[in-house]
């Protein structure tokens, strides 16, 4: 099936309607497996059971960054091909990204309270995630301010691309500014620095979170397509109503 077919909103709705139950099932299953593995993971000899917050915190952090990348890719569909489905994908992704970023921040704060003795420190990684969160809120605000969906899409696309350029600079400058958080320890050239008993449940949870993200995103895209159809129908109805100017 060529990608053009998928890009038709009606085909997209039909396909995702068939896909959705499987995705929901896979998500539930992955979370069940992941949580059982997390339960089996040993407590840290220093951090105790609080280390298990990481199994939610780290996948959320990955998704927080990944969803901005997803939005940046979707902007190509918006700016190059002016495709409405790309607009829908970008719009549906923003609140999900904001939610995962918030989850990452909240779990980080809950972990920081017993470990660092405070909910918040102005450490580089925390700060750059907070700025990322603010930028998600900015994109959502822009989406909500512009009434016409395709114009909103192009405005948000420009902001998303500027953000995608600026986020590494923000990350780097905030690192320069201050650092206390432990450095990245899973993706490294020398191989992961985490023991397999922790790493395996972490990866299982990452898969579960990824499935959750895909499910939520497709569901949000479906809702957005339907919302636009309702909007169009209402506009047509308003135009056709007796006594209207036309």
């Amino acid at each position: 099936m060529p990608i053009v077919d998928l890009a038709n909103p009606s085909r997209f709705l039909a396909l995702t309607a068939r896909l959705m139950p499987w995705l929901i099932g896979a998500t539930v299953l992955a979370f069940a497996v992941g949580l059982v593995m997390v339960k089996g993971a040993p407590d840290d000899y220093q951090q105790g059971a609080t280390v298990k917050i990481m199994f939610i915190h780290v996948p959320s952090a990955w998704l927080a960054m990944g969803i901005w990348a997803l939005m940046a890719i979707a902007t190509f569909g918006t700016l190059v091909w002016r495709h409405p489905l790309a607009d829908v994908a970008a719009k549906a992704a923003a609140p999900i990204g904001a939610a995962f970023t918030a989850l990452c921040l909240i779990t980080g704060m809950l972990w920081g309270r017993p470990m660092w003795g405070t909910y918040w420190v102005w450490d580089a990684r925390l700060t750059s995630v907070l700025v990322l969160f603010l930028m998600y809120l900015g994109v959502i605000a822009l989406w909500r301010t512009v009434e016409d969906p395709s114009r909103a899409a192009r405005a948000a696309a420009i902001l998303t691309l500027v953000g995608a350029l600026n986020l590494p600079i923000i990350k780097w400058s905030v690192d320069w500014w201050n650092t206390l958080h432990q450095p990245a320890s899973v993706v490294r050239l020398a191989g992961p620095a985490i023991h397999p008993t922790i790493l395996m449940p972490l990866l299982a949870m990452a898969v579960a979170f990824l499935l959750l993200m895909v499910t939520l995103h497709l569901a949000a895209m479906r809702n957005e397509i339907l919302r636009r159809r309702v909007r169009t129908l209402m506009l047509m109805q308003a135009q056709a109503a007796p006594g209207s100017a036309s």
């Binding site: 301010t145 114009r151 405005a155 420009i158 500027v162 350029l165 905030v174 500014w177």
Partner: protein, 222 residues
């Protein structure tokens, strides 16, 4: 006179003659600095220590405040349509407008910085350092702000949105501006390191800001 030079001269003339632009931004900057001691107390040692940060924050907010003047008036009187339809590339026109905007609103902030440094108990060297970093960094604020101004100019409720969109993007400029000022005053980092990065940020935002603002204007004015 080329079209770009004419546009530049027009912008500067308008800003100087119509009033309410750069002067008000500088006044706002002064008021922010005056209000700070009321909030944190008149401790001169503390003021000297956080003085560069206050000056940078004040300049950031002041340049944000004047941003809506960059395009709004041109949209209202229709000259923005003329600029869009002219042969001059829109990117260059935006750059000329933003540069003129910086001359009339950013430069006054830099000029009064040594004066405000006196209020914050900064010595001459420290004031000069802050003024120099503001001179290098405020163009970046204008060019980044131009993106937000272009995105929000055609919106009826764009005012507050502009601030929300622009402020997170200015984080690196603020970090390196204050870092360079502090490096000049207390060290231990050599002044050149953060200062050259600040200059690099300004140059990068000149490129990214003008292109993104031009793209935003094109889509907004359709």
């Amino acid at each position: 006179m080329s079209a770009l030079a004419a546009l530049f001269v027009r912008e500067v003339r308008l800003a100087v003659r119509v009033g309410g632009g750069g002067g008000i931004g500088a006044l706002f900057f002064l008021i922010v600095v005056v209000l700070t001691p009321f909030a944190i107390g008149p401790d001169l040692a503390l003021l000297a220590r956080i003085g560069p940060a206050i000056l940078w924050l004040g300049a950031l907010l002041a340049s944000l405040l004047t941003l809506d003047r960059l395009l709004t008036a041109d949209l209202e009187d229709g000259s923005l349509d003329l600029i869009l339809m002219s042969d001059t590339p829109l990117e260059l026109a935006v750059a000329a407008k933003a540069f003129a905007h910086w001359i009339t609103t950013g430069l006054p902030l830099v000029v009064i910085t040594p004066l405000l440094g006196l209020l914050l108990n900064l010595d001459a060297g420290a004031s000069a350092a802050v003024a120099l970093t503001l001179f290098a960094g405020t163009p970046a604020l204008t060019f980044i702000g131009a993106i937000g101004a272009a995105l929000s100019v055609t919106l009826r409720r764009g005012g507050l949105l502009l601030a929300v969109l622009v402020l997170p993007l200015t984080v690196p400029v603020l970090i390196f501006g204050v870092a360079a000022s502090n490096a000049a005053i207390v060290g231990p980092v050599p002044f050149g390191t953060p200062f050259t990065i600040l200059c690099a940020l300004t140059l990068a935002s000149l490129v990214v800001g003008t292109f993104a603002a031009a793209a935003a204007l094109r889509q907004g004015m359709e």
